[in-house]
């Protein structure tokens, strides 16, 4: 068997897999390198994997030159934290109610949830309801509420909770525990794996979301980070218009547009890269469990 380990097909497959995974890493390195490069190097030599001259000036400009970056960062963090917390509670309770076998109306409620996966009014009615009737335009809630109750996540949670032995619910009930108590004290702690998986997915969704911001946020100070990045990529002019004049005076002549874009990109993906090693394990496990259940 020893000879097999060095067989040709093993090497070829290993090489292909390695190449693809390097290709996945490559753009990240290029962006980091670009953010640390001087503007001259980028203009003259293009993007490189290793910066010729390392400088932190674009990060300085981003963080000191304009308050909009800091504002956007705070908005993104707020939306992610509030959205994720609410989402776990709301969908957790929804899943719990649908998981209670002894509950008479659980099938009716399940159908109520399933229907939302089938029919959709489409973008236009949804937008009009949110803006004209719910008055969400230019509010923080516009980026939190619309995706909050999610049928798919609720069913994931429900399926997990239905695997918990029914006796547990029954005996808690016999001991006189209220439904709230059973959920928060008993079932939720037992459901940490699924709640954590859903929570991570939701958090990632909120952090990376910019569609809701694009639809509902016109006010500059409410723009999330991703949207700001998008704006910046299409034009660097906003820095000139929004930044604190004194600090900008000196640099406005030579705004390093390319490296600034890269620096903001790094800032945007920063927290995710930081969380990644921890989060990835959870995701893979969660997905694997979901896939093999059948």
């Amino acid at each position: 068997m020893l000879t097999r380990r060095f067989s040709l097909s093993q090497t070829a497959i290993g090489a292909i897999v390695l190449l693809f995974s390097l290709a996945c890493l490559f753009p990240f390195i290029m962006v980091i390198s670009g953010s640390l490069s001087t503007e001259n190097d980028i203009v003259n030599y293009g993007y490189a994997l290793i910066p010729r001259h390392v400088t932190l000036s674009s990060y300085k400009i981003l963080l000191l030159g304009s308050s909009r970056i800091v504002d956007a960062y705070i908005i993104s963090i707020l939306v992610t934290v509030i959205g994720t917390a609410l989402s776990i509670i709301v969908n957790g309770m929804g899943g719990y109610v649908m998981a209670r076998r002894s509950f008479k109306y659980r099938n009716v409620l399940s159908i109520y949830v399933i229907i939302t996966m089938l029919f959709s009014g489409g973008l236009v009615p949804w937008y009009i309801i949110c803006v004209r009737y719910l008055d969400l335009k230019d509010t923080l809630w516009a980026m939190i509420l619309p995706p909050l109750a999610n049928a798919f996540n609720m069913f994931l949670i429900r399926n997990f909770m239905m695997a918990i032995p029914e006796d547990l619910y029954e005996s808690a009930k016999m001991d006189g525990a209220s439904e709230y108590r059973i959920f928060f004290r008993l079932i939720a702690p037992l459901s940490v794996p699924v709640l954590a998986t859903v929570g991570l997915f939701v958090a990632l969704g909120y952090w990376n979301d910019w569609f809701l911001g694009l639809m509902f946020i016109d006010k500059q100070e409410l723009q999330p980070l991703q949207l700001l990045l998008r704006t910046l990529v299409s034009n660097v002019e906003f820095l000139k218009s929004s930044s604190n004049a004194a600090a900008m005076q000196q640099i406005s002549a030579t705004i390093p547009s390319e490296s600034i874009k890269m620096a903001l990109t790094v800032i945007t993906i920063g927290p995710i890269i930081f969380l990644y090693p921890f989060v990835q394990r959870y995701f893979v496990k969660g997905l694997m469990v979901g896939a093999v259940k059948g």
Binding site: R5, F20, I128
Partner: protein, 309 residues
């Protein structure tokens, strides 16, 4: 009267659970059920002040649809949506199954884990960031690809005005972003195959290739069929995030990249043409509904557990 009492008693008895369901019920009502009433918007001459029900009916009733169906842009968007999605699904299937098979063949556990982690990484970033990466690689002056083309002696290509190249570019971008993620389910299916099949096969003298062909692939078949069917159910819905972040307002690329979702978005938010946008959205919702139902029905026929409902 007695029945009524029974119902009231039921509701009182279960009030705790009903209260717990209340947030979900309210949110779904506001963001999913209320918009359904908006499906009448394309039949109305929508006036923002008068609202959905207050607006006057369209005269003639199907005017918005006539306008939509006679527009070249709408035809182009429908065609692009379907063709691009078919391309994405087909290429995705080959890549994800192929990559899962390759990972499954690797014997070095450490190498396997590291490479799998690396390929999963792009899943965590937003399409906006992918858009920046793409721009980084493809832009005319400083893009890495153009630098490379110059270096090997070919002229630079202005990718952001070459519509013909974008189906390819978008396909590559999707594969780059989600292959690692999409592979996981296939890999899970592969690792759950009982090892004794392979042992028996190798005793009978089957090569690794034969084992893949006659054991791994048939075992993957149900997963492949179901995931593909469900993807077909979503064929009318393009990934707006991807298109908007990658293509944005690059009008020159619209011949191959404008899809229903981006068309609706532009009509709604930029040109303010609610009539056109709502008619396009209406058709999209109806077709999507039929597709979701039928693909789910088909998936259910194959494997009861795999269907969503």
């Amino acid at each position: 009267m007695k029945r009524r009492n029974g119902l009231v008693r039921d509701l009182v008895q279960n009030h705790q659970l009903l209260v717990m369901f209340l947030p979900v019920a309210t949110l779904l009502f506001l963001f999913c059920y209320l918009p359904l009433s908006g499906l009448i918007i394309p039949f109305k001459n929508f006036d923002f002040q008068k609202g959905i029900f207050g607006s006057d009916w369209m005269h003639p009733l199907f005017n918005n649809f006539d306008y939509l169906l006679s527009s070249d842009a709408a035809f182009r968007a429908v065609r692009n949506t379907i063709l691009l999605n078919v391309l994405f699904i087909a290429v995705g299937l080959i890549f994800e199954v192929g990559f899962a098979l390759m990972l499954n063949e690797l014997r070095n556990k450490y190498f396997k884990r590291v490479t799998q982690s690396l390929t999963f990484l792009p899943f965590f970033i937003s399409w906006i960031v992918v858009g920046v990466f793409t721009y980084n690689l493809l832009n005319y002056e400083t893009g890495a690809v153009n630098r490379f083309l110059e270096w090997i002696g070919a002229g630079p290509v202005d990718f952001y005005s070459e519509a013909g190249l974008w189906p390819l570019i978008l396909t590559i971008a999707i594969r780059w972003k989600v292959t690692g993620y999409g592979t996981i389910i296939y890999l899970a299916a592969l690792t759950s195959i009982d090892n004794s099949y392979y042992e028996a096969a190798s005793i009978d003298g089957a090569s690794r290739w034969q084992q893949i062909r006659y054991i791994s692939l048939p075992m993957l078949r149900p997963t492949v069929v179901i995931l593909t069917l469900l993807a077909i159910g979503r064929i009318m819905n393009a990934d707006f995030g991807m298109f908007y972040a990658m293509v944005g307002d690059a009008t020159l690329l619209f011949p191959t990249t404008d899809v229903i979702d981006t068309l609706v978005y532009r009509s709604l938010r930029q040109s303010g043409d609610i009539g056109m946008a709502s008619a396009a959205g209406f058709l999209q919702s109806v077709v999507a509904f039929v597709l979701v139902l039928s693909s789910n029905y088909a998936a259910r026929r194959i494997d009861r557990d795999s269907a969503i409902f």
